[in-house]
Point group: D2
Chain length 340, copies 4
C-alpha cells in the first residue's frame, strides 16, 4: 500500500528502504531536502514541501512521522490543517504516551486517525526488520497492516513459543491497546533495555579490573587497602569472553552480540568518553513506575548511571566532600590517584 | 576420551548424557546410587562406591565434580587420598573462585591438577550445549579439550563476530586464565544474569499494573492519590508482548525466549510465590566489585530484590514503621489495602 | 493576628494549640464537628459550617488549610466562592508544588492570594515548633509573619551557623521563592527524610542479624552457604547501641533520637508488620530528579523499599521464579526456610 | 589512669588533648617525632622510640593505637614483642572487625588483652567528645573505663530516652560484645553515615538544579526535552534552606549542621572537585550485608556514588556508549553539552 514518510534521518530513511524492498509505495519528505534524494533513486516519490507531500498522497492518506519527539507537535501543527477526514497519522518515534493520548483527542474532531508505534530495531532494522508496538483504534491498525508486515521481521528463524496460537506478534508487530499503548509498551521496553545494558556494562567493568591486585595501592587514611591482592591477578580477554558467552550461556542476547562486536579489536573502548545519553523513555518508564508504586531499583539505577556519566552528580559529590572536610578534616585526593 | 563424573543431579546427569551422545567414555558416581542407573542404560559405567569409581578410571584420571558448592571440599577430602600424581580434578559447579585458588594449591603437592569450570546452560544444556569458562594451567586445559568440545554448543547457528580469528570461544569453551579464572568469569556472568532477569521482571511489573487507573484508590493521609488515572487504563497482554519482543527488538535474548514460554497460558504466574533464591555467585560478584571499587548499582539492586523477596527486609521495614509512628503518629495500613 | 484553620486532624489541631499558646486568635473548622470541640475549650472559635467559618473571619481573611493533599481542590472549590479580594489561602499540607502553581493562577483573577507552606515537625511540633518552607508572593508572606513566627520553633537551643547574618531561617521559617517553592523544598526535604530513615533501617537490620552464624543453614543448590559463620556471632543490644550513637557520633539526629525511643523496651519491634506507606513527596522528588537529570540512587532506593514492603514487587518476583524454573529447573523453597 | 597513645595524627593528637584535659596521664609516640612535641607542652610524656614508649608505661600497660587501618598489623608486629602478660592493646582506628578477631587470637597466647574501639566524632571530638563502640573481654573493658569516660561526651545536653535504666551508653561509650563487636558496630555506623550523607547530597542537588527550566535545551534525538520548564524556575538559596531545616524539621542532624556550615558563604562549593574517598567501613558493611542476605540498597547506592565520583564507572560507561553506537548509530555528545 501507499505510505507517506516525514523525517528521513537514520531511522526514517532505513524504514523507507525496507518498505520499498517489500513492495510498498513510499512518498517521502524531510525538512532537509538532501535527505530525500537517495530514496528517490530507490523508487520513493520525494517531495520538496510538506504541501507537495500531502498532495502526492492518495486518499485516505497514511502518514508516518519519524522525527525527534520534541518536534512532533510542531510538525503536526503544520500537517493537520492540510489533512482530511479519514486520513491516518502514525507517530513512529519516541514520543511519550501521554502525548499520544492528547494528540489522538486533538485530531479526532477533524476525523483524523492517530496511531502510536513504538519502533525497535536500530540501524540493523533495515535488514532484521523492526519490532512494532502499536496503540490506537483496532480498525486503523488493521488498515495499516500491510505496512506493519513489511517493516516487521516476520517469523524468520525465531521459532514460536510452544503452545501458542499464532498472532501478528509472531510476525513482529502487535496491536497492544488503545491510544498510547504502543508507546507505553515501547517505553517499558527501553527501560528494560537500559537495565540489560547496564548489567553487561557493570559486569564487564568487574572483569576489566580483575588484575587490580597487580598494582600497588597507597595506604593512607583516605584509601582503602585491598585486603586480598592475590584475588585480583587476572588479565582477562574481554573480546574472547563476550564471544564465548554468545554460545550456550544463559546471558546470550542480541545486545551481547553487539557488545562482542564493539570489543573486537578494541578491548579498551578508548574511542568512547563514556558520556551516555538517554532519550526519554527510560525517564518516563521510571515516572510511570513511581505513579504505580512499582519498585524498579534496577531500571532506575541504570538510568542514574547515565545521568552520572554526564557529570550530573557533581554538585552532590561536592556536598559529600564538603561534609567530610567539615567533620573529619578530610581533604580530597587529586585526580590520577589510586585506581580503586 | 574417558571422563569420570561425580554428582548426578539435574546438571551432572544431563552433562553425562551429552558426553555419551558425543562419543565420550563416561564413568559415573553419585552418593545416591539410584541416580546412576538411568545413565548406565545409556552406556555409562556406573560405580557403587567412590573407591570403585576411582579404580574404574584409567590413568591419568580426569574427574569432573558436579556437586553443590557447599560439599565440594568434603568430596575432595574423600577423593584426593585415592588419586595419583598426574590425575586431574575439575570443579564444574558453582564454587567461589577463592576456593579454587586454595584447592589448586592444596592439591599441587600431590601432583594433582585442578581446573575450575564455570558451566552455564541450565537444563537446556543437554540439547543446546554448555558454555564453559575454564581456569587453571594451560596444559591441563589442553588435555581436557575433547571433553570440553563435547559439552560445548559448538559454533552452531551463531555466526562469529566479524573480524575475529577463530578460537575455542567460537565453539563455546574458553581457557580464561589461571586457577580461579573460570569461576571468576562465571561469577560475573551470573551477576549479569541477575541484572538482566531483574530488568525484565521490573519492566513486566510495570506492564502488569498498566491498568491501575481503572481501580479506585482511597484518599487519606497514608495513601498517595494517583494524579492521572487516565494514564493507567491499559489491559496489556503480556504473553503477546513478550512474544513480540522476541522478533527484531533490541531486547531479544534467550532469557526473553524463556520468559515468553513461562507466560504462555499463565500470564498471572500464579503458580509461583515469588520467593527467589540466589546461589552465591551474585553475592561474590558484588563482593568482588566492592573490593575493586567498581560501582555496580544494577547488579546489587538485582541481588537485593532477591533478598527482599524472601522477607529479609522485614526488620528494616519495621524500623521504618516505628519511626513513622514516633514522629508522625502514623499507623500502618492493614494488608489488603490499596493497590499502590 | 487572626487565622482560620480548616482541617483539625493530628497536624491541624496541634498547630491551632501552638498558635493559641503563642497568643494568636484562631477560628477553626473541620467537616467532622467533633474535631473542633476540644480546641474551643482552649480558646479557639469553632464553627459548624464552612459558611459560618468564613463569616467569622475579619477581612482580609487568612485561612490555613491542613487537609489531605487529595481533598485540597475539593475544599478550595467550596471555599473560594465565599472569599473576597485580598483574602489569603494557605495550603500547609503535603500538596504537589505543581498544584500550587495551578491553584495560585486559578485564584489570582479573584484577587485571592495563595501561599504554599511545607510543614515539618510531626506530632512533636506542638512542643518543638514547626519548620516552615514557604512559597508565594513576598508581600503575602510578610503579612502572615506573625503566624509563621508563632508556629516556628524560634532560635531555641540551636546556635546559628557561624558567619551568618540572621534571617527568619534562624527562627525556623523561610520564604523560599514564588508559588510552589515551599512545597518544592518540602518535597525534597521528605525525599531526604526517606533516605535517612532507610539508612538507619538498613544498618539496624545488619546489626539485628549479626548473630546469624549461630544458626545452622541448609546446604543445597538453592541456598548460599555462609562462608564464615565465625564472623556472625554477635548478639547486639540495639536499644543500647542507638542510645550510644546519640552522643558524640557523626550520625546523631532527631530521627535517631526517635528510633532509640521506639527500640526502648521493644527491640524486636514486633508490634509492627513493616508495611510502610509513603505520602507522595518522595515520589514527586524522584519525578523531579528524573526531569532534571539528577541522579538520586539513594532517594529512589529508599522509596522503592517502601513499595516493596507493601508487596508491590510480587509480580516481578514471580517472573524471576518462573525464569529460574525455565532455565534451571529451580523450584521455589517454601516460606519459613533458611534465614538468609 | 595512665594510657599510651601510638599515632598522633588528626584523631590521635586530639584524643590525647581531651584525655589530658580530663585528668588522664598520657604517654605518646608517633613515627614522625614532630607530632609529639605540641602534646608534650600540654603535659603528655613524649617518647622518641617505640622502645622508650613501652618502657615509660607502668604495668600492666594500656596502649591505644590510632593509626591507619593498613598499618596496624605492622605496628603490632613491632610492639607485641616488647609487651608483657596482662598488657592491653586497644585498636581505636578503622580496622575491619575480621582483623580484630584474628589479632585478639594471635595476642592471647602471650597473655596480651585486645580491645577494638570504633571511634566516632571527627575533628569536633576534642570538644564534643568521642562516641566509643567497644569490643573485647568484659574485664578488660572495665579496666579501661576511666579512659573511655574521659574520651566520651558524657550525658551532656542530650536527655536520656524515656524509660531507660542508665548505662554507660548514656555517657557515650558502650561494651558492645566480644572481640570485633566494637568495629562491627562502627562499620555499620559508617555505612549508615554514608547513606545519610548521600541522602542530603542528592536532595541538595535537586534544589541546586531547581532553576533548570530557565535555560534552553537543545532538542535532538540524543537529548530528552524538559516537558514542563515552568516547573523548574526556582533560584533557591541553599545556605538559607539548610539553616532553616536545622530548626524543628524531621531531618535535623549534626551532619546537617555541618552542611549548613559548609554552604555558608560558599553555596556553589566550588572549592571541591567532588572526588569522594571511602575509608573501608562502608565496603565492609556492604560485604557483611551480602553475607547475611540483608538487603541494603541505600547503603550500597551511597557507596557506589563515591566510587563513581572517582571515575570508577568509566569503563562501564564506555561499554554503554559502544553498545548505543552499535545498535543505534548514536554518537556521544561532547562535554559541555546540555545541562540535563
Amino acid at each position: 500500500m501507499q505510505i507517506g514518510m516525514v523525517g528521513l534521518g537514520r531511522m526514517g530513511s532505513n524504514m523507507v528502504q525496507r518498505l520499498l524492498q517489500n513492495g510498498q509505495d513510499c512518498v517521502v519528505y524531510d525538512s532537509h531536502a538532501d535527505a530525500a534524494r537517495p530514496l528517490s533513486g530507490l523508487g520513493a516519490t520525494a517531495c520538496a514541501t510538506l504541501e507537495d507531500f500531502v498532495a502526492a498522497l492518495s486518499l485516505p492518506r497514511a502518514i508516518w512521522l519519524m522525527v525527534p519527539a520534541a518536534v512532533v507537535d510542531k510538525v503536526l501543527g503544520q500537517l493537520a490543517p492540510l489533512l482530511q477526514e479519514g486520513d491516518i497519522v502514525i507517530d513512529g518515534g519516541n514520543s511519550s504516551y501521554h502525548d499520544d493520548i492528547r494528540r489522538a483527542a486533538q485530531l479526532a474532531p477533524q476525523g483524523i486517525h492517530y496511531l502510536d508505534v513504538g519502533t525497535s530495531g536500530g540501524v540493523a532494522g533495515l535488514d532484521r526488520g523492526y519490532c512494532l508496538m502499536i496503540g490506537g483504534e483496532a480498525g486503523t491498525f488493521q488498515r495499516l497492516e500491510p505496512v506493519f508486515a513489511a517493516l516487521a521481521p516476520g517469523a524468520g528463524s525465531v521459532s514460536a513459543t510452544s503452545g501458542r496460537k499464532p498472532t501478528t506478534a509472531d510476525q513482529g508487530y502487535l496491536h497492544c491497546g488503545p491510544h498510547g499503548a504502543g508507546h507505553f509498551v515501547k517505553m517499558v521496553h527501553n527501560g528494560i533495555e537500559y537495565g540489560i545494558m547496564a548489567a553487561y556494562a557493570e559486569g564487564l567493568n568487574i572483569l576489566h579490573k580483575a588484575n587490580i591486585g597487580k598494582h600497588e595501592r597507597e595506604s593512607d587514611a583516605e584509601t582503602t587497602p585491598l585486603r586480598h591482592p592475590e584475588h585480583y591477578q587476572y588479565d582477562l580477554d574481554l573480546p574472547e569472553i563476550t564471544e564465548l558467552w554468545r554460545r550456550g550461556s544463559v546471558i546470550g542476547s542480541w545486545l551481547l552480540d553487539l557488545t562482542a562486536g564493539a570489543l573486537q579489536g578494541n578491548p579498551a573502548l578508548a574511542d568512547y568518553a563514556g558520556r551516555v545519553s538517554d532519550s526519554g523513555e527510560g525517564r518516563w518508564a521510571l515516572a510511570a513506575a513511581v505513579d504505580q508504586g512499582v519498585p524498579t531499583p534496577v531500571l532506575s539505577a541504570a538510568l542514574f548511571s547515565r545521568f552520572e556519566s554526564r557529570g550530573n552528580a557533581d554538585y552532590a559529590n561536592r556536598v559529600l566532600s564538603a561534609m567530610r572536610h567539615q567533620f573529619g578534616g578530610h581533604v580530597e585526593k587529586p585526580e590520577g590517584g589510586p585506581l580503586a
